[in-house]
Symmetry: C2
Subunit: 295 residues, 2 copies
């Protein structure tokens, strides 16, 4: 089975478990709404790729880890879209959860998806409770305080921002979770895989800054110009468009060099390159090709 199919099956199964009757129908529907359509599922795909590169000796645990990570990511989108944060009307080309279901259910969707992520991992333990617990610890570390995406969002309420901690937590955390959980799910050490995740996260942040600067709302399926609006730091503001594109490519080369020795090393390098292509849409490449370097 391809990664995309395994990821979607695992997420669908988790959501169905959460909708089991008797359960409040609107919240149950909103759970499904919040995780579909799937989009690129970038984080769980990276997780699966690393698990495969490490031998994937327990596919059920890799599936659960991928689902758990994506559920956390979806939860963060739902809460970040709330009026108190980005006040986003659209997400993935359709009304945001609070626009479609109201604010109370949007808060509860986020909460429920977070809890579901840990539940999915605990359920998938099989006879290897220790491995499932390691996955839970990495996921909680990369999600909560003081290092996870909650901390990343929390930095945006500070007057003085530790930029390195902010970026690592805001965007890097779930990519580090992806590579580390992929390794753990396949029975390998998590630590050597942190750098790959961190670098993919940096590249993704730069790509997001480029998208935010270049695209319109219709193409992107969510509001644009949010960084300027909220005064958040941004690679395009710092380096310009060409500079930001060059920086993204440098970071991805570094990512590939950081891949630890493992059976599927070469294949994994190809995956990172493919992600780089996916992160560099036609419009920028065309824009880059039509310019004289340095102009």
């Amino acid at each position: 089975m391809q990664f995309a199919e395994r990821i979607d099956n695992a997420i669908t199964q988790a959501i169905r478990q959460g909708q089991h009757p008797p359960s409040p129908g609107k919240l149950a529907s909103a759970l499904h709404y919040a995780v579909t359509p799937g989009g690129a599922r970038i984080r769980p795909t990276i997780l699966m790729s690393v698990a495969a590169a490490c031998g994937d000796d327990r596919p059920a645990l890799a599936d659960a880890a991928a689902a758990a990570l994506e559920l956390i990511h979806c939860a963060s989108l739902v809460h970040d879209d709330l009026p108190a944060f980005d006040d986003a009307d659209v997400r993935r080309g359709k009304p945001s959860v609070h626009r479609a279901f109201g604010e109370p259910l949007a808060v509860l969707v986020g909460d429920s998806l977070i809890i579901m992520a840990f539940d999915v991992l605990a359920r998938a333990a099989g006879d290897d409770a220790a491995r499932a617990l390691q996955l839970i610890r990495v996921l909680s570390n990369r999600t909560g305080m003081p290092n996870g995406i909650c901390a990343g969002q929390g930095w945006e309420s500070e007057d003085e921002v530790d930029l390195s901690a902010y970026h690592a937590a805001k965007t890097g955390a779930l990519f580090m979770a992806a590579t580390q959980m992929g390794a753990l799910a396949a029975g390998q050490d998590a630590e050597p895989w942190e750098e790959l995740g961190a670098r993919i996260g940096e590249a993704f942040q730069v790509a997001d800054d480029l998208r935010d600067a270049l695209y319109d709302e219709e193409t992107l399926g969510k509001p644009v110009g949010q960084d300027d609006l909220h005064g958040r730091p941004n690679a395009v503001t710092e380096f310009g468009i060409d500079g930001a594109i060059a920086r993204m490519r440098d970071i991805l080369s570094g990512a590939i060099s950081s891949i630890p020795k493992c059976p599927g090393e070469a294949h994994l390098a190809k995956m990172v390159n493919a992600q780089a292509e996916a992160l560099t849409p036609l419009k920028w490449r065309a824009a880059q090709a039509s310019r004289i370097p340095g102009e």
Copy 2:
């Protein structure tokens, strides 16, 4: 060490872990603000009492379970107080978290406390990963969808409410978690302890309805009349004040009879009685004493 001290130490340790620098200072402060002052810590005290009655052979795990349960309870208070739900200005006699720190940080505090709860359990596993995983599964089941407190809150957005599922999820869930996690932390089966938690939860719901009907905001430290305001079902509306008090006492007798055979059975029965006393403040007892039965 007394239960209260063990619980407070475990919570303090968890919060400190979540505040470890570099972390966003306001969110770090808000985490501490949200779990103090402790109030009665009823749920973790019940958990500790059950663990003690079952032999408490791994006190570190019971401590972690008690902290995790209280963190989840505090998270639910922070999110329930949000403008989208109860819009409560006060909680435990001081400004609610969103009043003190703003709405974005209140959302993040709730999210962070939920994640911290699972982290605390995973960290405390020691050499018994399987037991920690069982605790995580009970906690996620009693917190998320479709059976936990998120579901309970979700029912309040429905036009047609399954009252039994609503009450079990809204108030019962964390009491069932308390008794079951207490047993699990001490290496016993969870299942026989569900009924005790369910009955304590029912009694607590009736007591809460009485408080809501009888007390003023200053005494209670939170807004009163919320049930009437939100059209939620209420034992006082259904049975009257005397009827509700009688019902609460009946439920607690049932709770005591449901206690499974265990070394500390007699002591645990005393604890349940003590909780019953604590749930029946002077004002009601005086009110009850001054009335002719049936009047």
